[in-house]
Structures are given as C-alpha cells and as structure tokens.
C-alpha cells in the first residue's frame, strides 16, 4: 500500500497564486448578459449565472436565495482537489479542475412534452442503443421513468398512476414549483449546503434531478427509476435528488447511468438526500457506468457525489446498493444517519476499477438512536492499473444503546499493476455497542480461470463468472431487472483485463 500522488506533476501548486476566490468572483470575461432565451449558459460561474439558472427554471424566490447562500459559502470553502497530495485524505489523484470552464446550464431544444411522440427521435434512438426501454416496455416491466437528458427532464411516465396513491415522482424543478413546502422542509436537511465543497457547489448550481414523496402508509407499487445521462460536451452535471418516505411507507428507487464516449473530463457532483420517517423504508439502487476514460485515464468522468440518508423515524430503514463500474474517478460514500430507535442502515457495494480508474468509495454509518443496526458489504475489484479504495466509517455515539454493525469488505485483484486499499474508521463511544469487521483480499486465480477453460468457457466468460460470483451477495440486493444489467456490465467492464 502506498500513498497516491498526483498523476501529473504539472502546475506546481505553490506558485499558483490564483486562489479560487479570485477565480470565482472575477467578472465574466466574455461579457456575459443574462439571456433568458438562451439554451445554455456560457461557461463559468458567478452570481449572474446562478440567477440565470434560477430564472430559467422559474423558481420561487426562496430557491434563488438558497442557491446564492450556498454559492457564497462555496466561495469560502477549500477545494479538496487542490490540497497538497500529502494532505488529501482520499486516495485519488487528478489534474486541477477549472470550475470556470464548466457550463452550468444546458437544456435540450424542445421542452414540456406531453407525450413520447414529441420526443426528439434521435434522442429516443440513443436511449434505445443504450438499451433503455423508455417506451411501452416499461409499463410491462413496471418501471416508471423520469429521464434526465442533460439538465431538463424530457419525459415522465406513470405519473398518473402514482398520483392516484398520492405519490409524488417528478423532476426537481417541477417539485420546486408544485410542492415548494415539501422542498423547503427537506432540501438540505440531510446534506447541508456547507457539508462539503462539492455539495455546496451542487446546491448553488444544480439544474435538475428527481423528487419523490411517498405519503403515509403507502407502499410504492413499482420501482421508480431515473436514467441520468450526460450528453452535451463540457456540461457539468449537478443533479439533486430528494426522496422523502413518510411514516410507514416504502419505496424502491433505481438510478442507472450511461454516457457516450467523451474526450474531456467531465465533472459530476450530484447530491442525493433520503429521509425515512417512522417505520418507513427506502431502498436506493445504483448502477453507474459512465465513461471511465481510456487506458491512460483520459476523458473519463469525475464522479464526486454526496449521498446520504437519514433514518429519522423509529424502525425506519435505508438501504443503499451500488454497482460502480464507470467514471475515471469516483468519490462517493452513500451514508446513513441512524437517528430513530431501531433504525437500520445497509450498504451493499460493488466497485470496479480497470484501465486507469480510481475509486475511493464506501459508506458512513452513524448510530445515534438505540438498538440501531447497520450492515456494510463491500466488494472491490481492481484490474489493469485501477486503484480501488474502500473507506468506511462506523460511528456509535455515546447515547446509542445496543448499536450493532457488521462490516465485510472484500477485494479482488486481477493482474499485478492494480491496487486495493481498505481504510475502515471505527469509533465506538458506547460500551455496549457491537462492531464486527471482516476483510479479505484475493487474487483472481489463474487456476480458477483454467478450471473454467477446461470446462469449455472462454477466459472472458470465466472472468465474468468468477467476478459475478464474488459479487453475488451485493447483486442479490438489486431488483431483478437491474441485477441482470449489472451482471452484464461487470463482464463488459473487465473485458480484456485478463490474458
């Protein structure tokens, strides 16, 4: 295990006198004018741009104020990516990000469509190629889709059926307009704007995302699904997702991502907040396969995401399941704050790093309430020159009686140029807390592959099978249709990494 160093020596940071603050407060040098008719904002970030975004989205005043406040806080925060390598806590390295070259708003040309027929056929074609069945198949599959294409939701189905049950499932923009009281109450209540640099940035400039509210006692009858895609070149994506499960309700939410080939690094800094009240359950599943960059790490997505759930009510439960195969850099810790007594937090994760990918991912389980329980199952797979880090925090607070945690953290290495690292942080302040931690590291055996070969399987199929077996406990947590997709994805992601 060795400390990571910056992948390019470049611009020696000490002489880089240009502070972020100067950077951000600088007047927009190409003479920016707020043009409400424009389909996208010019690159760069300042208060004007934030006003532009807010105006574009016809937001109420409170939203604009909230954004501006976040923006002003962000200006004062330190960019963790610019810290000296020795002071970085995440085991990832990358060149500096120029926040002024990012386009913070871009919308597809057509908007406000009432049916799928009005959707750009080219767009539908792209979805088809990606295997996203946006059309009627979805009804059979029982999945409602809120597709985020670039920054505006283009199509939302199943809404009527859901609204009969009082379920709100809509784009975030719509929620701001239609349900401002809910947004006001819960937005930022799990991930405050000051939480971290990227959460603050997201709060200032997020363009869209999804909003879900499940009323008391309602069990959402279908998996809710959103396909995020990043398409327009050089457009940073700042989604915002907020899911509120009221007392005694249940919802399963799927998030899947794909992105086409791209040459420039793209910054992706989403924020996801989950709130589970008394006896409520939220299951949040992610399959992420954004462009990982080429063999040299060029062109991949930077995935700096803040995901957190609050088990506010007693007997509430939040379950995160993720299969992460994409992005050049992933920095992500879906966490649970177990406030309610008897609340349960779960984290099931598969993270694959191949090529030059770097992932620093894991979870935080904060036990506050009595008899709270958490389970962490993490499977990391490294191939080629991939670097995979599990970083997990388990914290049992002083007043949390009889809290329990079980952590299992397995790493698999393919080849001898990759790395796997494990950093568990455990903090127990209550003497009757119970914490278990198991960890293993294995190398995918040539003998295993040979054994499969001898039974007629090609090496690629063998690797796919062995890796899927390794990840079985996590894949089993995914909803059926997602699990199949995830299995294929694991095979595809590791193609060419053996032999």
């Amino acid at each position: 295990m060795s400390e990571s160093t910056a992948s390019q020596p470049a611009a020696d940071k000490s002489s880089d006198t240009q502070t972020l603050e100067e950077f951000a407060s600088r007047e927009y040098e190409w003479g920016f004018v707020t043009d409400i008719e424009a389909d996208s904002a010019p690159p760069g970030l300042n208060e004007e741009i934030i006003r532009f975004i807010s105006a574009k989205k016809e937001e109420p005043e409170f939203m604009l104020e909230w954004r501006l406040k976040a923006y002003r806080q962000w200006l004062k925060m330190e960019d963790p990516t610019r810290r000296a390598p020795s002071e970085r806590w995440a085991k990832v390295s990358y060149p500096d990000i120029d926040y002024q070259s990012v386009v913070y708003y871009s919308a597809p040309k057509k908007k406000e469509l009432s049916s799928l027929d009005e959707v750009d056929p080219e767009l539908l074609e792209t979805y088809k190629k990606l295997g996203i069945p946006l059309e009627e198949q979805k009804m059979l599959a029982g999945v409602a889709v809120d597709a985020v294409f670039d920054s505006v939701s283009v199509a939302t189905t199943f809404k009527d059926k859901l609204s009969e049950l009082g379920i709100i499932f809509c784009s975030f923009s719509e929620a701001v307009k239609e349900h401002p009281e809910l947004v006001k109450k819960y937005l930022g209540s799990v991930v405050p704007t000051t939480d971290n640099f990227f959460a603050a940035l997201n709060s200032a400039v997020f363009t869209d995302g999804s909003f879900v509210y499940i009323p008391k006692g309602v069990r959402c009858p279908m998996e809710l699904s959103t396909y995020f895609r990043i398409n327009a070149a050089n457009t940073g994506q700042f989604e915002r997702t907020l899911i509120v499960a009221d007392e005694g309700s249940y919802v399963s939410y799927l998030e899947g991502c794909t992105a086409p080939m791209r040459d420039e690094n793209q910054l992706h800094a989403a924020v996801v907040e989950l709130v589970a009240l008394d006896n409520a359950q939220i299951k949040y599943s992610t399959v992420q396969n954004w462009y990982p960059g080429d063999e040299n790490g060029v062109g991949g997505i930077y995935n700096f995401v803040t995901k957190r759930g609050a088990c506010r009510g007693h007997h509430s439960k939040i379950s995160w399941t993720q299969v992460e195969t994409g992005s050049s850099i992933t920095w992500k810790y879906p966490s649970c704050i177990l406030q309610g007594d008897h609340s349960v937090g779960e984290f099931y994760s598969v993270a694959v790093t191949s090529k030059m990918q770097q992932a620093d991912t894991g979870t935080k389980m904060i036990h506050i309430g009595d008899n709270t329980r958490s389970t962490i199952i993490s499977k990391g797979i490294s191939a080629q020159r991939g670097q995979n880090t599990y970083r997990g925090g388990v914290k049992i607070m002083k007043n949390a009686q009889n809290a329990r945690n079980f952590t299992q953290c397995d790493s698999m290495l393919i080849g001898d140029r990759c790395g796997a690292h494990t950093f568990p942080y455990i903090e127990v302040r209550n003497p009757n807390g119970q914490v278990e931690h198991e960890a293993s590291t294995s190398k995918i055996g040539e003998d295993q592959i040979f054994y499969c070969n001898q039974r007629g399987l090609s090496t690629e199929d063998a690797v796919g099978m062995i890796v899927n077996g390794f990840c079985k406990e996590v894949l089993a947590e995914l909803p059926m249709e997602f699990a199949v997709e995830a299995q294929k994805l694991l095979g595809i992601s590791l193609e060419g990494s053996v032999g």
């Binding site: 055996g445 040539e446 003998d447 295993q448 040979f450 054994y451 499969c452 070969n453 001898q454 039974r455 007629g456 399987l457 090609s458 090496t459 199929d461 099978m465 062995i466 899927n468 077996g469 390794f470 990840c471 079985k472 406990e473």
Partner: protein, 253 residues
Amino acid sequence: MLNIENLQASVGDTQILRGINLQVNAGEIHAIMGPNGSGKSTMAQVLAGHEGYDVTGGSASFLGRDLLDMNPEERAREGLFLAFQYPVEIPGVNSTYFLRTGYNEMCKHRGQEELDAMDFLSLVREKLKLVEMDESFLKRSVNEGFSGGEKKRHEVLQMAVLEPRLAVLDETDSGLDIDALRVVANGVNALHSPEKAAIVVTHYQRLLEYIVPDYVHVLYKGRIVRSGGKELALELEEKGYDWVKDEAVGAAV
C-alpha cells in the same frame, strides 16, 4: 485418438517431461503410474493446455488436430476432459449454472441446440445418480466447502454431463476412502464406451482394481520407462517403484 510424440515440457528452467510417447485409441483405458515427482500431473496439465507449463518440444494430436495449437477451452470443446487432482473453488458461482454454461459451450461448438435451465436440470438429475450425489449439490457454489471426496465426485459428475471423448483423470483416487473410490470408479466405468478413451493417472494400484486398464505405463523422471498390460500394475504394487527406478537408472548408464 491421441497421439503423443516425444513431448517435452518445463516449468521455468526445470524440465519435467523429457520426451513422452503415447498412443491412445478409442475404446482404450490407459493408466499412467509412477512415483511422486515423475511428471504424471504435469502430463495431464500439459494435455489440457495449462499455461504454467512451456511445451519445449515434441507433438501431440487429438482426433487428427494439433492439440498443442489449441487453447484450453478449444481442447475442452473438442472433447478432452481433465478431472483435476485439486478442483478449485469458485465462490458464489452456482454449480448447476457453471456446468450448464460449460455444457452449452460444447453444444455451440458441435452445432447442437443449447439447453435451457429446466431441461438441463433434468439432465443433471439423471447424472447425479451415477455418482450417488444429493441434489443439494446443485445449489452449492462450485467446490466451495466440498469435502475431498465430494470434490472428486463432482469432477466425475461434470465428466458425466460433458461426455468427453477423452477423459484424463488426474489422481482422482487421492484422498478418497474406499466407498468414494468405488463410486468414482463406477461412474468412470459407466461412462466408458468403444468411442471413448480414458487416461487414468494414479500413484496407487488400488484404483485399478476398480477401473481396469488396457495398458499401464510407468512414468519416471519425465519419461515412460515401462509399458505393459494391467498385470504391470500388480507387479509394481508388489515390487514398489524402486524396481523401475533401478531399471531406469541401469538403462541410462
């Protein structure tokens, strides 16, 4: 069916096989015996195409094709099966799924129709009886937590499902008690037919009481130093390997 001429193989700088000659015809069972370290297992692994061994000379043809030119999965699909001495565990991979994937690869190769999960299950159930295995095996992960005997039975089960033309059994008897040995041997015998052949690699004569070979070859220091009928095995049992060792040394001088 299998024609090996002057086959030489090494691991790193160590030469292990120093010129093996062997011809196996359809319908025959050949036993390869020899003391530890004589190269028996290496020979089995080399035939199956293990990349850890470098073939440094000689040739081998299987059903008229150049065996050494094929990668391991091609050899398997052509009908060469290796029952491993130490079957590896593949955690999380269901045995039935594993076996069906292999089976369907063979089908694809032969241009036959692949079997779906249901049809395959009935096929496997039939074969399970042959090795006196419980159906609960099918739900377990490949070799994970299997006892030594279970692993060996599992190998024979796979052989029964894949129906190879040539089966190479690498010390399938090692670590088996007498009952398991009988089961395994019965399985192998039941699968034998005039179109098929088998090479049984073993250290002890014991297995050959159950699987009766047509030919017995003694391997020593990477060469076949003696060949004969099944009675050779008995002679070995009686006189021990020192006898062939001395003879081999004598011949070399």
